[in-house]
Amino acid sequence: MSREDLLQKTILLCATVGSGTLVVGIFLLMLHLGWPLLISGQFFSLLLQEWRPADNLYGIYPMLLGSTVISLLALLIGLPISLGTAFATTVVAPPWLRSASLALIRYMAGIPTVVYGFVAVFFLVPFMREQITGGSGLNILSAALVLAILIAPTMVIFFVNGLSGVAKTYSLAVDALGGTPVQKLLYLLLPQAWPALTAGTVMGLGRAMGDTLISLMVAGNSIAVPGAVTDSARTLTAHIALVIAADFAGMEFMSIFSCGIVLYLFTVLFVSVIRLTSKTRND
């Protein structure tokens, strides 16, 4: 191996090891900061307690529920839309519309989150307040709707890559055997693109779970345990953003490490799902 090769290899290896270490490092840091909670056993009780600082209760159960419900609802709304868009783009639409819609979707993925939040606050929230839910209009449903649009481009891009990655010869075989476009989707494309579809869905869920700004701006940030999708709620991420200004030594501040650890574990779970599904398919 020449010196130049060696140098290149070393640089690349350092970059890889560096970013890998960083991810592990972040987890260790959070574990370190949240350690007092963990050893005293408070971590697990925090997961089930309510957030009532006046009564010295700093549980994150409402936020855990808020995050889960908002992101799942966003996925429930966003998934069919994304799947339909991806299918239309890859199979049904005429070529000019395919490239146009793909360009638009890539562009959508690049719009800053705050813009979506801003538009929602001025259009969706008043509409929600006056026409549908009443109240402030800042609630789980509003946040989930905006998040659905926010995560759709990510999912569509994954889905389009997966669907268009299915061999053209297969596609042509189905056409020549008299398959309709919908049959092609059901019998060929969906089963073949399954790993990419799972990956896209999990990525979308991960993005919805990890998003801070939309829930902060649109979900209402109530600390009560939400009972319906028309209730206001606070997510784990929004909670971190809201509490971070509190006294560093206080229990209130400590609680955000439990939020961090929970979010981290969710991400690990999502990534494991992706790894597992693509692995079983390959076997």
Binding site: P94, P95, L172, V174, D175, A176, L177, G178, Y187, Q192
Partner: protein
């Protein structure tokens, strides 16, 4: 009538003359991006024959085949003019004028490609696939029909013990016979074969040629082939695609 030195099938609107023909084209032309691929093709093919089209590569032979099942429409672009009439059991059908859904046409006009293209599923599922697309649901009957199609394609004996195995694990020649079995599953009246043996070794090639002779009993076969000797062995009618049109070879 046009004479090109060779005999060209007469353009004839007289229905008496067309009555025995299975495939009829009149002034058929195909262009792609305003560039003419072929034109003025007037063809009449009788039932139960094997017609072969030869010619240099890039002359548009494969595209010519896809005119008869409208598969070219899946590639985007392209334009057909003229008339294509196919005689099905229920009468003469103008496949470009009458509102015939592509899926229905393709269930009646089967096609086998140059490179075997089994779907990523088991042998059984591959052969059963067209029936599934056509909405056939009875499972018990399916096994019998799959066996019948595999027998027609001279493949059953070789695969009967591994019908549930992945079709892509078969040899090239077996894969191609599987594709023929799959195309025969819907009992098409017309079968289009695009250089069905060009990616196969001599032995597999021989097996497919044997099979072609049987196929003639149930369908009209229109095939494209590179090999002059193969064409001489199997074809009843031979055409050559040259100078942007189709002329009958002596």
């Amino acid at each position: 009538m046009v004479w090109n030195g060779c005999w060209r099938v007469a353009l004839c609107f007289d229905n008496d003359m067309a009555s025995a023909s299975k495939i009829i084209t009149r002034s058929l032309a195909f262009s792609y991006d305003k560039k003419t691929l072929f034109e003025s093709i007037d063809l009449e093919l009788p039932e139960h024959c094997i017609a072969a089209v030869t010619g240099p590569s890039g002359a548009g032979k494969s595209t010519f085949l896809t005119v008869f099942n409208r598969l070219w429409q899946e590639f985007g672009g392209g334009n057909v003019s003229g008339t294509v009439l196919l005689r099905f059991a229920d009468g003469l059908v103008d496949i470009y004028r009458e509102h015939l859904p592509a899926s229905e046409l393709r269930r009646r006009v089967g096609m086998v490609f140059q490179k075997p293209n089994p779907l990523p599923m088991s042998i059984h599922k591959n052969v059963a696939f067209p029936l599934r697309l056509a909405g056939h649901r009875k499972r018990g009957e399916m096994d019998h029909l799959v066996e019948k199609a595999l027998r027609k394609a001279h493949l059953f004996e070789e695969v009967k013990d591994r019908l549930r195995a992945d079709a892509r694990a078969l040899s090239g020649g077996q894969q191609q016979r599987l594709c023929i079995a799959r195309a025969l599953m819907l009992e098409p009246e017309i079968l289009l074969l695009d250089e069905p043996t060009s990616s196969l070794d001599a032995r597999s090639c021989g097996k497919i040629e044997e099979l072609l002779d049987d196929l003639k009993q149930s369908c009209t076969v229109l095939m494209v082939s590179h090999y002059q000797d193969q064409v001489r062995r199997v074809a009843d009618l031979v055409f050559e695609m040259t100078d942007q049109t189709l002329i009958r070879s002596a």
